[in-house]
């Protein structure tokens, strides 16, 4: 392991994390809802009456956030190297995984650990472990 100091952005990362935490606090303390993205989106698949609006409003906010960012700071840096077939496969695997696992990086990784939930800690360790393993296999095993 060697740390890539030029890519490492601790200040922006911490600031972004605090902003993210503020959004979690807002949704929790004002709307009474946990900001787990997979749960919010998943709840739209079999919607209950009266439980749709806030989910759509939250997703609309997420969709518009890069536009707001662009107004003040220019286009956000986003680089997607994976091909369309890989994106499709990854999407299906993520969808199945978060639905069985009951959450993703936001619901388990941020909200769950903030609540000191052992369940979320186990989930977070699990998905980070296979995330490490998958990237290791793709980048460091095989011919290249």
């Amino acid at each position: 392991m060697s740390i890539e100091w030029t890519a490492f952005t601790p200040w922006a990362a911490t600031l972004g994390g605090v902003v993210l935490g503020a959004a979690v606090a807002l949704l929790l303390l004002v709307n009474g809802r946990v900001a787990g993205i997979s749960g919010i989106v998943g709840g739209l698949l079999k919607p209950l009456p009266g439980d749709i609006g806030w989910r759509l409003a939250f997703v609309a906010g997420l969709l518009l956030s890069p536009l707001l960012y662009t107004v003040f700071a220019g286009a956000p840096p986003i680089a997607i190297d994976a091909s369309y077939p890989v994106m499709t496969l990854a999407g299906v695997v993520v969808g199945v995984g978060v639905r069985y696992g009951g959450g993703c990086t936001s619901g388990h990784g941020v909200c769950g650990i903030s609540r000191l939930s052992p369940r979320s800690l186990v989930a977070t360790v699990s998905f980070i472990a296979t995330g490490f393993a998958t990237v290791y296999a793709l980048r460091h095993l095989g011919g290249n």
Partner: protein, 136 residues
């Protein structure tokens, strides 16, 4: 009012992801590449978010309703079982393949990246498939 605050929460959440660099799959993959040129930034995102989140959840725990008088929906599941671990292990594989998890993918779609849209469509199909199987 709940719609407006949920919208603002989504907007702020997305801004946080962008500022943190977490809407960028290339940066996520650099974090997941511990054997390569490792970028530990994601850990700092989690520390920042959890620091604020812990205060919010500690406060929420002592209340039954939100500031708008809505019921406080806190997760009740406690089981550490095959579904939780298996699902999370699977999620990590997909995360490592694309560098996307659900939130950043939605933000990248908003920024106009078609590949993020494909990822989300596939993700919704995966979620729907689980719901279909689980209902039986």
């Amino acid at each position: 009012m709940p719609l407006l605050t949920a919208f603002v929460a989504g907007l702020v959440f997305g801004l946080g992801l962008v500022v943190a660099g977490m809407a960028n799959p290339a940066k996520i993959l650099q974090f997941l590449d511990i054997a390569g040129n490792w970028d530990p930034s994601l850990l700092f995102v989690m520390v920042g978010a959890i620091a604020v989140g812990m205060v919010a959840f500690a406060f929420a725990r002592r209340r039954t309703t939100s500031a708008l008088g809505l019921p406080m929906h806190l997760p009740t599941a406690r089981a550490i079982d095959v579904r939780l671990v298996g699902g999370s292990l699977l999620f990590g594989i997909g995360w490592g393949l694309a560098g996307f998890c659900p939130g950043p993918a939605i933000v990248a779609l908003g920024a106009g990246y078609a590949k993020a849209g494909v990822f989300i469509a596939a993700m919704l199909a995966g979620m729907a498939a689980v719901d279909r199987i689980s209902r039986k």
